[in-house]
Amino acid sequence: MAKVLLKGNEAVVRAAIEAGCKYFFGYPITPQNEIPEYFSKELPKIGGAFVQGESEVASINMLYGAAAAGARAMTSSSSPGIALMQEGIGYISKAELPAVIVNMMRGGPGLGGIQPSQSDYHMCVKGGSNGDYHNIVLAPGNVQELVDMVQEAFDIADQYGMLVIVLADGLIGQMMEPVELRKPKERPIQPKTWALTGPNGGKPHRIYNLKLQAPDLEQDNIDLFKKYAVIEKNEARYEDYMMEDAEYAFASYGTASRVVRTAVDKLRAEGYKVGLVRPQTLWPFPYEAFQRKNVKKYLDVELNMGQMIDDVAIACGDKNMIEFFGHTGGVLITVDEVCEFAKKVMGGAK
């Protein structure tokens, strides 16, 4: 397919439909409104359905229902809207249903603002719902990667029976870039024999959340974590940039990592041995990416108050090896600020 110029939010819709998504349930919120808007135009054309729920709570439960019926379905929202969905997210995770959520993050906490932020690392990666569960969290760094990850999210969800969150921010949603739709790699996906497809003469299927016998619920959770261990082994992903001889490594994802990448180019031109490690999955977190012998310090740069620091610390085994720089509340970082921060940490080390 020839390249087209798409806004991130439009690209989500193209990619999802290409991946076979036929149902969308959502409620409007800035800065992701183009997603429901485009779905509302496109899904009726392919015999699918767009439903604007009366709230995010309704929308996530509609997604729960569609996923239980075996459909490829998704919802999208932005930070406060995802917060409202947390109960349903827990239910889908307990039921081990495949579903996709796109979160175009904005400044928080609370209602916050409408400018881009990475405010939901904790909520999405560590889990904002109750109980022992994980969601797979993909972190695209540009619009092309957003397209690739949205397509892949549906396959990953089906392969493992998991809820997959594509965690981008408002800027990636609003930014325009040339993209092409590419086929994701083949994955082993089983037919959905468990799906609730109505009375068709076979045995009844049941999808439920409640387990009143504690040992039964414990066993469910142990089984769930056996599955999570496989995912942690197979799916953790990251990208290195200029890391071959780097003595100082930035740790950054999404929009922040794009600013950092330009800062790395600038610092390299001045002779500094810096590189960038960019996690592409936030759960599972690519812990092995931060275990480098040559690296003296990890420079964590995010659009929040440092929500990824703990994971980088677990990975490198020493919190003192991490320095942080970021802006929060929807304020963007600049290339010059990142360079200045790095130089301060590195001193005169070239």
Binding site: K3, V4, L5, L6, K7, E10, T30, P31, G113, I114, Q115, P116, G170, L171, Q174, M175, M176, E177, P178, R258, V259, R261, T262, G330, T334, V335
Partner: protein, 227 residues
């Protein structure tokens, strides 16, 4: 030259066609050619990448910037400032209006229809053939009719802004030119400008005599260096 256009230039186009980047570049050119340039940002559709974000830089260049927002930059309420009407009536201004995308954005103009002398207006449609819904002459004409219906104004000129950001090649601009020539032939609306990011497109000079309308060199104002 922009000084040859009518006193009030209204910029419209499909959502994401590059209206704002064109309008801001146009405003800077206007600042060099006219006495009293003003730009109004009537974009109530987008929440990011709005021309009002460049208020400080444009004011330093001598351009009067009239924001549609009555509260603050980061507010996405569809409220319009009454200051917008001043340059419609005060003929000492050369005025450029940056409308929001698609027919939804063009609708805003309907409210000002009675205040504007249509003989004083150029209504330019910006087209990027690499955006959805404007990929061929039929789609472009369909969008054009929607914009005209919603705004109550007739398009007077086409702006070929066909690009793939940093991946734009001379051939891409020429492909846009070919489609816009067909549109022009069918609608009798001339191509007024063909844009080009001159710092980005290699061998852009090959375009100057080949493309329809006036060659309109541009530079990025709305994208920062890391984008």
């Amino acid at each position: 030259m922009v000084v040859d256009d009518k006193r009030i230039r209204i910029i419209t186009g499909y959502y994401g066609s590059g209206k704002t980047e064109f309008a801001v570049n146009y405003a800077y050119k206007m600042a060099r050619e006219v006495k009293r340039p003003a730009i109004a940002d009537l974009d109530i559709v987008n929440v990011y990448f709005r021309s009002r974000e460049k208020t400080k830089e444009m004011e330093e260049a001598g351009i009067e910037v009239i924001s549609s927002s009555v509260v603050e930059d980061n507010c996405d309420m569809p409220a319009l400032s009454s200051r917008i009407t001043v340059p419609f009536l005060d003929k000492s201004y050369d005025y450029i209006i940056d409308l929001g995308g698609s027919e939804v954005g063009a609708k805003v103009l309907g409210r000002f229809g009675d205040l504007i002398d249509k003989n004083e207006v150029d209504f330019f449609m910006v087209v990027n053939i690499f955006r959805p819904e404007t990929g061929n002459e039929d789609e472009i004409i369909h969008q054009m009719r929607l914009l005209e219906q919603m705004s109550g104004f007739k398009i007077t000129g086409l702006v070929n802004n066909s690009n793939l950001i940093h991946e734009t090649r001379v051939e891409d601009i020429l492909e846009g030119d070919a489609y816009l020539r067909k549109v022009s032939e069918l609608t009798k609306i001339p191509i007024r400008y063909t844009t080009c990011m001159v710092d980005e497109v290699q061998q852009y000079s090959a375009l100057i005599d080949k493309v329809g309308g006036e060659f309109f060199p541009m530079s990025y104002n709305m994208r920062t260096i890391w984008m």
